[in-house]
């Protein structure tokens, strides 16, 4: 999924200071100290760095960083969202020219850049000591085989965003399990044939996240040995439920991020979304008309009483290995992900990936007017702590996601079933992986 949303996070000032302190203490003793010292020297010396990102909250962060370090210029460039930027980055890296110093990369795309050694390992700067700073989901996503490839900027623990006005109007109870969710979808569509409980036209990010929550682990990656298996129990649990939604035409055939989608979210004809926590800020800014209608509940469970959620989206900042200003880039990256930049970004609506922020009472108890005064972050932060462990993305997930609609998407427009679609997706992903030199098994 290409998330065209503002998602952000901030690290805590405490963590930032702590990290600096650790780095400073170890100076002269370890490699990490030297690199961190280089970064400090680079800060003093000044210079220019180029940052490729589409996250709008980084604008204030870059401005603040420049104000604090007057001899540094940060060129923040938006070269496209998600896949568009990865293409540009991939091309720049291949050409060895015009490579940015810092790049925003979503979690699902990180392994693809890491495997080709396109990203600088941040361990020498002391990034490995930030383990407890971030929640486990995002932290697991940015490190691979002992290297830290990026630092998380935001995370997307999933929750149920629902239009309480529509739910009340039709007397629908907030579903706590997926079975109840299907039942609620029937109830709503029957009461109002123009309204749907949710929309879906085939979205790789959504599908993999639901499989993730159901306990499926279709991707197993160990270096260049990869296994793809969409037949495990978790996947089957997802397909049987979601197939019902498709068969009974209970999902609106509207693509996410389209104008129709925003219209549906605004007028109540799309009455709920199970989506990443960053949707909070996105609703506030992009669906102003529905202010007061929406509320947030925990993500529906596969078995009642189970406390497992999943992540949906989430971004990080990385330093391409070809950057010529890596030291300066680290200074900015640290400022934005664990330093003062975090507070700026949360204030602008980002959802953090840092533990201290998520546990901060001021953050959790904040009441949102848009959500009728609900302390939304309480629900979202709880979800962040319940994310299922051990999920891995393919080292060629960007490509795999690009053919999702060719394969699984057919289940939305023809007689193909989700299971068949996933089998084709698996087959084509395996073929591509083997073709690219990985050892891929089914």
């Amino acid at each position: 999924m290409t998330v065209r949303s503002r998602r952000v996070l901030r690290g805590t000032a405490v963590a930032g200071v702590l990290a600096l302190g650790l780095a400073a203490c170890s100076s002269g003793e370890t490699g990490s100290g030297e690199a961190a010292q280089d970064a400090e020297a680079a800060l003093e010396e000044g210079g220019e760095i180029t940052v490729w990102a589409w996250d709008p909250t980084l604008e204030s962060v870059a401005a603040d960083f420049e104000a604090e370090n007057p001899n540094i210029t940060v060129n923040l460039e938006n070269v496209g969202t998600g896949n568009d930027q990865y293409t540009a980055l991939q091309n720049a890296i291949a050409a060895g020219d015009g490579v940015p110093d810092v790049a925003q990369i979503e979690f699902y795309a990180l392994p693809q850049f890491a495997i080709s050694e396109a990203l600088a390992d941040l361990t020498p700067y002391g990034a490995d000591q930030l383990e407890g700073t971030f929640t486990p989901g995002p932290w697991g996503a940015v490190q691979q085989e002992g290297a830290v490839n990026a630092l998380p900027t935001d995370s997307g623990p999933m929750a149920l965003f629902y239009n309480a006005r529509v739910f009340d109007e039709h007397g629908i109870e907030v579903p706590t399990t997926w079975d109840e969710y299907v039942e609620a979808a029937r109830q709503l569509h029957e009461a109002d044939p123009d309204a749907y409980l949710t929309n879906d036209v085939g979205d790789a990010g959504f599908t993999t996240s639901l499989i993730w929550q159901a306990g499926g682990r279709p991707y197993q990656v160990d270096g260049t040995d990869v296994t793809v298996d969409f037949t495990d129990a978790g996947t089957q649990q997802f397909t049987s439920t979601w197939q019902t939604m498709l068969d009974e035409e209970l999902v609106a055939p509207v693509g996410s991020w389209s104008d129709e989608w925003y219209q549906g979210l605004s007028d109540g004809s799309i009455a709920s979304l199970v989506i990443g926590a960053w949707m909070r800020g996105n609703l506030e800014s992009s669906v102003p008309g529905a202010s007061g209608d929406w509320a947030v509940a925990p993500m529906p469970r596969w078995e009642s009483g189970q406390d497992v959620t999943a992540e949906n989206g989430g971004s990080s900042l990385a330093i391409p290995a070809a950057s010529e200003n890596a030291d300066l880039a680290w200074a900015f990256l640290e400022y934005a992900t664990v330093g003062d930049g975090v507070a700026t970004r949360v204030a602008e609506g980002a959802f953090p990936a840092t533990v201290a922020e998520l546990e901060d009472p001021a953050f959790r108890e904040q009441e949102f007017e848009y959500f009728g005064g609900q302390a939304v972050n309480e629900v979202l932060a709880e979800s962040a702590a319940q994310v299922g462990e051990g999920w891995q993305y393919l080292p060629f997930q960007v490509y795999a996601n690009s053919i999702f609609n060719d394969t699984v998407g057919q289940a939305y427009v023809s007689g193909t079933t989700l299971t068949e679609g996933l089998a084709t997706w698996q087959e084509q992903s395996v073929a591509y992986g083997n073709d690219q030199g990985f050892t891929v098994d089914q």
Partner: protein
């Protein structure tokens, strides 16, 4: 000596890209393992690639259905305007030519909105008349919907080619026909159409090339109908997806070269046939 500068520009602008594509197409770059020389492996793979052939047969179907319809309409309009029996002929000429001035991307977006079954024109018609029109963006109809857009865009362009050719037919021929008592239909069949055969052949060749290169319209509509328009919907779209999402630059270059060759061969055959009849 004077040909030097021309040859230099020619080599740089025309030969270099082709040479580079040929060079790319005999290598294979992997994420793991780097770049290796593979000879003609990419070509062998393309010839056995069902996705490539599916795309090719799709544009071929498009070619045999859409091009005759489009050229037929263009010819009819050109003859009607040329006949001089139409009131406000410059108004018609301009209005029919206008869509050609609309960029293909804008045209596709515009039609994409109209095709929408919820908030688009199709949706409005459904609501107003209480009927359910088939969804123009469903997998079965999407190719016809694209053909409709392309026809709308290019009827005016082809009409202008035909009309320009008709304007240079000597008037003495019409006068002679009138003296002989020929009907309008006979004039059209025996004078006008033979006189513009060259223009017909040219327009056909342009349309063949255009069909095989079908890209803008499906690429724009893809975001509205991601499941109906796959990443290998047309060979051009396939080459694009291979290169940009899959980083298979080498294979993408191979697909592009094969498509170029096929287009050249078919265009050449049409030209030969067209010329032979003329002789």
């Amino acid at each position: 000596m004077f040909i030097g500068p021309f040859m230099l520009v020619f080599a740089l602008v025309f030969l270099a890209p082709i040479a580079y594509s040929l060079y790319l197409s005999v290598f294979r770059t992997q994420m793991v393992g780097g770049t290796t020389f593979v000879g003609l492996d990419n070509y062998a793979r393309a010839l056995q690639d069902p996705q490539f052939w599916e795309g090719l047969s799709r544009v071929s179907l498009f070619l045999v259905v859409q091009v005759p319809i489009m050229l037929g309409i263009a010819l009819l309009v050109a003859l009607a305007i040329d006949s001089g029996r139409l009131y406000g002929k410059s108004f018609f000429r301009i209005s029919i030519f206008m869509p050609y001035a609309v960029p293909a991307v804008v045209a596709s977006l515009m039609w994409g909105f109209m095709y929408g079954t919820r908030f688009g024109l199709v949706g409005n018609i459904n609501d107003t008349f209480g009927i359910t029109l088939p969804n123009p963006l469903s997998p079965d109809l999407v190719l016809a919907s694209i053909a409709n857009i392309v026809t709308w865009e290019f009827v005016g362009y082809n009409m202008l080619i035909f009309y320009a050719a008709l304007r240079v037919v000597p008037h003495s021929l019409y006068e002679a026909a009138e003296i002989d008592g020929a009907s309008q239909w006979q004039v059209v069949r025996s004078i006008k159409i033979p006189a513009i055969r060259g223009a017909l052949v040219i327009a056909t060749i342009f349309s063949i090339i255009g069909s095989f290169q079908l890209f803008n319209e499906p690429s724009i509509l893809q975001s509205l109908a991601p499941n109906a328009i796959t990443t290998s919907f047309t060979p051009n779209l396939y080459a694009y997806s291979l290169s940009f999402s899959g980083q298979q630059y080498n294979y993408s270059a191979t697909v592009a070269i094969i498509m170029g060759l096929i287009t050249m061969v078919i265009a050449y055959v049409v030209q030969l046939r067209g010329m032979r009849k003329e002789a």
